[in-house]
């Protein structure tokens, strides 16, 4: 028996695999086995009812997708009443994603969803803070520290801060979230992007710009997850372009304690369970008893790999202390 369990951000998870917010819902209950997940993560909810963005809301790009869904929401009250109780029929813990446009509303919402049946709160701080010129909370370390502190005071539940990859210094934002009292970091949300229909000269999204996700972002988000795992001591949950167990392993190896799978489920409806199965198979095949042993196992020894099957002599390390081009 392979032990896939991990402790992560205040929760004990049966395995490190969970859905990414906005790509998962009760509608999938008939499609794959919910009991196989490490946790549930809901679509972000907002205090009030919202419509979301104009269509087209998605567009495909090479190896990825753009979305500008916005956050259509039935409001917090309806969510607490109608949705949360329905998750109690399954064992995995429920993580509720929340967002709001002011610190007050955000804190209120955190209180509202701190109810029986909710195991942790994921805070989507990639949304604009209307009290800070509309800049997203997670764009800067200061605003991140403040909002996390506010929310830390508002709830006793574990708090997972979901960062935005659009920040210039994600590692500093990660540290700030930890300082503010976050129990885990989700790295990261979608990357702001756009595409244009050359024939009509219109943006392919009704909202002009949208978030990029899927395999195309994986190398960028993996780098950020690695930087955050080095900068923070709280667990990092990798999220961005993970489609297969191999992708998940990359994130675990650079130091993530868990992963979220989003866009991949749109292409392969059973992607989440396939990743769990794949992790187990990988451990079995490589003689790993506990997935914990994979976490943070990145090998940084500088052996230049040799294309001809021998070890090449290491080159002068001093000459190598250069930036990437």
């Amino acid at each position: 028996m392979i032990d896939l369990s991990v402790s992560c951000g205040g929760l004990a998870l049966a395995n490190p695999v969970m859905p990414a917010s906005g790509t998962f819902g009760l509608e999938q209950a008939g499609i794959f086995d919910f009991e196989r997940l490490g946790a549930f993560v809901t679509k972000t909810i907002t205090p009030d009812k919202r419509m979301g963005n104009p269509t087209p809301r998605v567009s495909e790009v090479p190896n990825g997708m753009l979305n500008s869904i916005g956050i259509p929401s039935k409001g917090a009250a309806a969510f607490v009443r109608d949705v949360i109780p329905r998750f109690s029929q399954w064992r995995p813990p429920l993580v509720v994603s929340i967002s709001a446009n002011t610190p007050d509303a955000f804190a209120d919402l955190a209180r509202t969803v701190s109810v029986e049946g909710v195991a942790a709160i994921e805070i989507n701080i990639s949304c604009p803070n209307l009290e800070d010129d509309g800049k997203a909370f997670a764009m800067r370390p200061e605003s991140t520290r403040e909002i996390v502190r506010r929310l830390r005071d508002a709830t006793a539940l574990p708090l997972w801060a979901k960062l935005t990859p659009n920040a210039g210094d994600v590692a500093a934002v990660a540290q700030a979230a930890q300082d503010g009292g976050a129990d885990a970091l989700v790295v990261a949300n979608t990357i702001l992007a756009m595409s244009v229909d050359v024939t009509t000269r219109r943006p392919s999204l009704g909202n002009v710009m949208g978030g990029l996700s899927g395999p195309a972002v994986k190398p960028i988000i993996l780098r950020m997850a690695y930087q955050c795992a080095r900068a923070a001591t709280i667990p990092v949950i990798g999220c961005g372009g993970i489609s297969t167990a191999r992708d998940a392993l990359e994130f675990l190896i650079v130091g993530c304690r868990a992963v979220q799978v989003g866009t991949a489920s749109f292409v392969h409806p059973s992607a989440l369970v396939d990743v769990v199965d794949g992790l187990e198979a990988h451990c079995r095949e490589t003689g790993i008893a506990r997935i914990e042993d994979v976490i943070g196992s990145l090998d940084l020894t500088q052996a230049e790999h040799d294309m001809m099957g021998g070890a090449a002599p290491a080159s002068d390390p001093a000459a190598y202390a250069e930036a990437h081009a």
């Binding site: 509608e27 008939g30 499609i31 087209p56 495909e60 990825g64 997708m65 259509p72 749109f266 292409v267």
Partner: protein, 285 residues
């Protein structure tokens, strides 16, 4: 309502309840036949694996079109079932090559496998009382309407299909629909018969003759608005099959919404799981 219900897909006009769709699965179908129907449309027939669930008329599959040689569709593509043959464990699509995904699909050869996810969505409901129905379709809409003819006939409904196209050689399914027992009327731009007033005349005639107790429309906003007007005028049951770009296909991503009228308010509904077939009167077309 005291009328006998032939099937749980057959509901009284007053309160059309939607049947729950069969549980969708991801499966590898095998291409049986793949032919050009006319200059624009192709017919793809697939063998399904043993035990695969079968679609109801109006439901769709989400297709993983093959990648390669410069065509790299990322999303799945939604496609209505055109022919459902549960007894033979077969399925048919009628489709038009419009972009990357359908172009990739057009390269499938007999014997190739094709990854499908479905059946998805909510299909057509029939009125109670073996009431006569009228289908109104254009373009790709004909594909979606296809399986409604035998389904309605088997349930004892008289069916009239009004098929609209740019030119006579682009009208599809005329023979199939006739063979399945429908009265078929074709209208085309080339012959000048497809304009709204002319089609409206045909519909009014059918209503007057008692041949149109319910209206089904697909493939054209213009025709949808016409059908809405006629249905409202005569208080007819009606449904419309709608299209929207899809990512997940199962209701979680909220990309496939369209606007609807509900108690005087505009609301968004997801085409993939609250449709693709919707009450005619509520669609904002």
């Amino acid at each position: 309502m005291m009328m006998p219900m032939l099937d749980h897909d057959v509901v009284p006009p007053a309160a059309p309840a939607h049947p729950a769709p069969g549980r969708p699965v991801e499966l590898e179908a095998v291409v049986r036949e793949h032919v050009a129907v006319n200059d624009e449309y192709r017919y793809l027939s697939l063998d399904l694996p043993e035990g695969a669930p079968h679609a109801k008329p109006g439901q769709f599959y989400h297709l993983l079109c093959p990648t390669g040689d410069g065509l790299e569709p990322f999303f799945r593509r939604p496609m209505s079932v055109y022919r459902v043959e549960p007894e033979k464990n077969r399925l048919g699509f009628l489709y038009k090559v419009t972009g990357t995904g359908t172009a990739a699909m057009a390269r499938l050869w007999p014997g190739d496998t094709f990854n499908l996810f479905g059946p998805l969505g909510i299909g057509f409901t029939l009125p109670a009382d073996r009431a006569p129905i009228v289908l109104l379709g254009r373009g790709v809409g004909l594909a979606t309407m296809g399986p409604l003819v035998p389904f309605a006939r088997e349930n004892g409904h008289r069916v009239t299909a009004i098929l609209s196209a740019r030119a006579p050689d682009l009208v599809m399914s005329v023979d199939e629909m006739r063979a399945a027992g429908a009265d078929v009327i074709t209208v085309t731009d080339a012959e000048g018969t497809s304009a709204v007033p002319h089609v409206e005349g045909i519909l009014e005639d059918l209503v007057a003759k008692g041949a149109c107790a319910a209206l089904y429309v697909c493939g054209s906003s213009r025709l949808t608005r016409l059908a809405q007007a006629v249905a409202a005028r005569h208080d007819l049951f009606g449904e419309v099959a709608l299209e929207q770009q899809m990512a997940c296909g199962v209701g979680v991503c909220f990309c496939c919404v369209r606007p609807f009228r509900e108690n005087g308010e505009t609301v968004h509904r997801r085409v993939c799981c609250e449709g693709p077939v919707f009450p005619l009167a509520e669609a904002l077309a």
